[in-house]
Symmetry: C3
Subunit: 198 residues, 3 copies
């Protein structure tokens, strides 16, 4: 699913393999209006956290899957970046997405396991003002029906300013499964963050 | 269900729309003995967190529902207050209920969503010494059977001194559903807090 | 099930009823090689948190059950200690197990309730760098099928350096039930901590 309007096409997206916004990526963010045919779109940034992807040694398959699965009638992917498993680098991107780009949702993939370099939840917790524990609880509880290892995913979710950050697992399979939950609740979540639903 | 003994009747309860204890409310707390017909009652304070209720623009329906549902043979509602969605105001009431009134349980309603002013879990976490994560986890997990949005409730529960604070959702429907869980475990929880059950 | 190789026999284990490592216990840790018949074993320390057990007034039944249930073809119990319900004492043992003994997993039992002295989760959270919320969430969710009180267990799990700390309940029944979950995921968790599974 390509997001054509108000965005650069996915094909012209230059993946940024370093910390910090790339020119193309920045342009894509600026050009995303958040509105399509009068409908208020949900502006999304995708952050892949992976040492090997950031070094270009592996394709960012999970980041691509997220972009493909998000329905283009509700979601507008404004940015996609890759950072290594470094807490400061992750936190810097999250802050940039929330404070500068002002996207509605950041979906991270990777870095939620128990490996020595897995620190995505810590970076997320450090920059968020408020935690939304139920999203990650549900991903684990529902993942458990498929594999007991789902409970080892340490992902969290939280709000910084008006941006919702959700950690997804790193594996393509895990990403697919967890996105179902995201799709069910994120539109309402964004509506609440904007002051609606009361 | 009116709590008649050792309490003012619900009818005479003057709701406090500002931060701080009202004279009637204070009297009600002082007169609650925590004992009825020789049975050790669970002394409860209800805190409604709502901007519109605190301004008198809306009835405190959820607070009333909590009071009505709690069985009067186990629970004694000693105080009911309303505060705006302000972290300091909420925290001040929780501290007052725990440290001065010394109630067994504070049930809050409201302020657990993702709205810009929803900060009840943050106020609760800030004043509690120990967190009791399972109560809120279960409310979300069981709520999920009825609506996927249940997982967006950010409520928490914790202990300050010997007082158990539990965040309930703001909606009357959410409150009713979550109180079932509270009723099942809170008597045992209070017994444990008092040093029993070992 | 006795762990005979590379360990003192369970029979010769001198339980330490004070904070700090006992000579026999220290020896047991030093002699545990973490390898048996070429297989990389998971080195485990068991920490019983209980005032009455630490005073010798009660048998450490739950600690013994943990040791008996862990299959000896995967797990090597290197140490078993008893401390009172004191946050500093618990934290000191966890740090010693993680930083000095360098065991793979510490299983604690006790101190996860709502009693005034129950502080095992606080001690665990204070010494761990990263939290693994799903293990405790799952223990509570699965325990709920047997008793509603399972949701009152405040246990947590986390990682300090390369050691995974998991809080189990204090009751023998709770320990047995929760160990099933531990057995299903801990080998993979340890593999991830060691840098595998990527």
């Amino acid at each position: 699913m390509l997001k054509l309007e108000s965005c650069l096409t996915a094909g012209s997206l230059l993946y940024t393999n370093r910390s910090g916004a790339d020119t193309h990526d920045r342009l894509r963010i600026e050009q995303s209006t958040g509105v399509r045919e009068g409908v208020h779109m949900i502006r999304v940034a995708i952050l892949t956290v992976s040492d090997s992807c950031s070094r270009g040694e592996r394709d960012d398959l999970s980041g691509r899957i997220i972009e493909e699965i998000l329905p283009e009638d509700r979601f507008q992917v404004c940015a996609r970046r890759i950072v290594p498993d470094d807490q400061d680098a992750i936190a810097r991107e999250l802050v940039d997405f929330a404070d500068v780009a002002g996207v509605d949702v950041v979906l991270t993939t990777g870095g939620t396991g128990l490996g020595p370099r897995d620190v995505t939840p810590e970076a997320t917790g450090a920059v968020c003002d408020r935690i939304v524990p139920g999203i990650s609880e549900t991903m684990r509880a529902q993942g458990l029906a498929k594999t007991p290892y789902a409970i080892l995913s340490r992902g969290t979710a939280g709000i910084r300013n008006n941006t919702l950050v959700i950690n997804l697992p790193g594996s393509p399979k895990g990403v697919r499964e967890c996105l179902e939950i995201v799709l069910k609740v994120v539109p309402h979540a964004v509506d609440m963050m904007r002051g609606g639903g009361h």
